[in-house]
């Protein structure tokens, strides 16, 4: 039986954790392989299954994986991982696509002019290019529900701010290096703020606390300040 993709390297990280490495680049195709592997392994093996750009962390319960023959739990998990990745299963469910409304510029995106200057573009072109792309949620991290999105138009890439802000408002859509992301709650942050979504990106009262999951596809829909206000009120009312 042939594997649908070249196998990852498997590195034991701790007594109860393995790290699968699929490569060492920030690349949407590579990252999609991570999510496909996560979909196969999540329920089978792990108590935690944490995708990142090119790697996947699996945590397991060493006691329940301990072999009766004394075989180490790590070895048994490694074998189960390899078997699961090699089994010729149906391709995993296609990713969800979520369209997120964003009010670009102005008070909602105070750094958009700096991004435009850095890119040598007009502000309108920055908005157009940022909203034209289809992004992939590479991973969530930094803070609960913070999505790192792959797929930023290369011309919009910009190194992080030299002086990070102590408070970035919740919902801020920002650019940091070659990535874009959304601040799910008020947080300190060093990325350039180009807009804000009125939607709740992280809400503990919701059935699914994080709006986005690893592997999701995301598009941004530009809205104006009036629409922002209306949607914001709707979000508050839903809380």
């Amino acid at each position: 039986m042939t594997s649908p993709w070249p196998g990852p390297t498997i590195e034991p990280l701790a007594e109860d954790a393995l790290l699968l490495r699929f490569g060492d680049a920030m690349d949407a195709v590579l990252n999609a392989r991570v999510h496909a592997a996560a979909a196969r392994l999540r329920t089978l093996i792990a108590t935690e299954c944490v995708p990142a750009y090119a790697s996947l962390l699996l945590r397991f319960d060493p006691l329940s994986w301990q072999g009766a023959d004394g075989q180490a739990a790590l070895e048994r998990v490694r074998e189960a991982v390899l078997a699961a990745l090699q089994s010729a299963e149906e391709s995993p469910v296609p990713p969800r696509e979520i369209v997120i409304p964003v009010c670009y510029g102005g008070e909602h995106g105070p750094d958009i002019e700096a991004v435009a200057r850095h890119a040598g573009l007009e502000v309108a072109q920055v908005i157009e290019r940022h909203a034209a792309a289809r992004y992939q949620v590479a991973m969530l991290g930094f803070a609960p529900g913070f999505p790192y999105l792959l797929g930023l138009d290369e011309t919009l890439a910009m190194p992080r701010r030299a002086d990070p802000r102590l408070r970035v408002p919740a919902g801020s859509v920002a650019i940091g290096g070659r990535q874009t992301g959304i601040y799910p709650q008020e947080l300190p942050g060093g990325w350039h703020l180009i807009g804000r979504t009125p939607w709740a990106v992280f809400d503990l009262r919701a059935r699914a606390p994080a709006l986005l999951r690893p592997g999701d596809h995301v598009r941004f829909q530009p809205i104006d300040a009036v629409q922002y206000r209306q949607l914001s009120q709707a979000t508050d009312a839903a809380r």
Binding site: Y53, R59, A72
Partner: protein, 330 residues
């Protein structure tokens, strides 16, 4: 029934076994830093083991109990008083209604655990009552205890094991904290991390030889290690990957940081080591300025030590349950 916080102590928070299954959404485990001490405190009041207890740091809180309450505290040795009466740790005590318990300073160690019979019963957030101070998530809006807070206590069967005196009364037996509290501050066992080989020779030797001091700004997110600066052979450009509590990272400052219970779930610094699971609670009991030395371990040894400790802990938990039952006829 409620426990009223008169003074919060230096940093006190509700903690249980932590939040499991949400790391992929960027939500870490949090939970008690010294897990065996937390479990034993619960066991000593007859809880099943996963109830929330109070974790306090360096200076404990002052609490008033509005009803008769069974308590136990474990972890670092702490000066504990009800009125003039001093109470021992690592056993359970019955406090009459209205008692004010003052948990003071610690002669050594860093963290203590106060369990109450029935457990602290705040509404769980994502399946756990642990307060994640860094992510601001959990009961009390994810913040530390403040004066004026009232903590409710879960329903529980009445306790007959101790006669109710007018004064706070400890049980006549207790646990020996010796195996569960790191009095000797022995070296901590560290696994080589993925980027250990990228350290220059002097830094490789220093990691397992030189010794460090626990930095002042250490907290439930990370333990900072001051001492000899560690250097890479050449700078590394890394992309973020998942991290774990116990992961030893090397930021550009050259001073390693060891990730703790509330660390972000991903990180992009070189990963130079992983603390063995058995030694995480031991490190949690070091206080700023304490010495930290590492010795090298292997996964086989680390796994064996973990299995052995879990066995010992399970046996002890069973023994405690049996003793409490015999003291408390049905």
């Amino acid at each position: 029934m409620s426990v009223h916080v008169l003074k919060p102590g230096l940093l006190s928070s509700l903690q249980d076994g932590g939040r499991s299954g949400y790391a992929a959404l960027g939500i870490g485990r949090a939970g008690a830093m010294d897990t065996p001490a937390w479990q034993l405190a619960n066991a000593l009041v007859g809880n099943r083991g996963d109830e929330a207890a109070l974790e306090f740091t360096l200076v404990g809180p002052t609490l008033q109990f509005d009803q008769l309450t069974t308590i136990a505290f474990t972890g670092a040795p702490v000066d504990a008083r009800v009125g003039e009466r001093s109470l021992p740790g690592w056993t359970c005590c019955l406090l009459p209604a209205g008692s004010v318990l003052r948990l003071g300073g610690m002669a050594r160690g860093c963290r203590g655990y106060l369990a109450v019979r029935g457990g602290f019963s705040a509404e769980p957030v994502l399946g756990s009552r642990s307060i994640d101070l860094h992510a601001r998530l959990g009961p009390l809006g994810g913040r530390a205890l403040q004066a004026g807070d009232a903590l409710s206590v879960g329903e529980h069967a009445p306790w007959h094991g101790l006669r109710c005196h007018a004064k706070a009364t400890p049980l006549s037996w207790g646990l020996d904290p010796q195996p569960w509290f790191d009095f000797g501050q022995e070296p901590l066992a560290l696994l080589r991390g993925h980027h250990f080989d990228q350290l220059d020779d002097a830094s490789q030797r220093a990691l397992f030889g030189a010794g460090f001091r626990l930095g002042k700004d250490s907290n439930r997110t990370a333990t900072r290690l001051d001492g000899q600066r560690l250097n890479l052979r050449a700078p590394l450009e890394l992309i973020s990957e998942a991290t774990l509590p116990g992961t030893l990272q090397l930021p550009p400052s050259g001073q390693p940081i060891l990730l703790q219970a509330e660390a972000p779930v991903t990180g992009g610094y070189p990963r130079i080591g992983q603390l063995s699971a058995v030694d995480l609670p031991r490190l949690a009991q070091r206080r700023p300025g304490d010495a930290v030395c590492f010795r090298e371990t292997t996964l086989e040894e680390a796994s064996a030590r973990l299995a052995q400790r879990q066995q010992r802990l399970q046996r002890l938990l069973q023994r405690i349950a049996l003793r409490l039952e015999s003291a408390c006829p049905p």
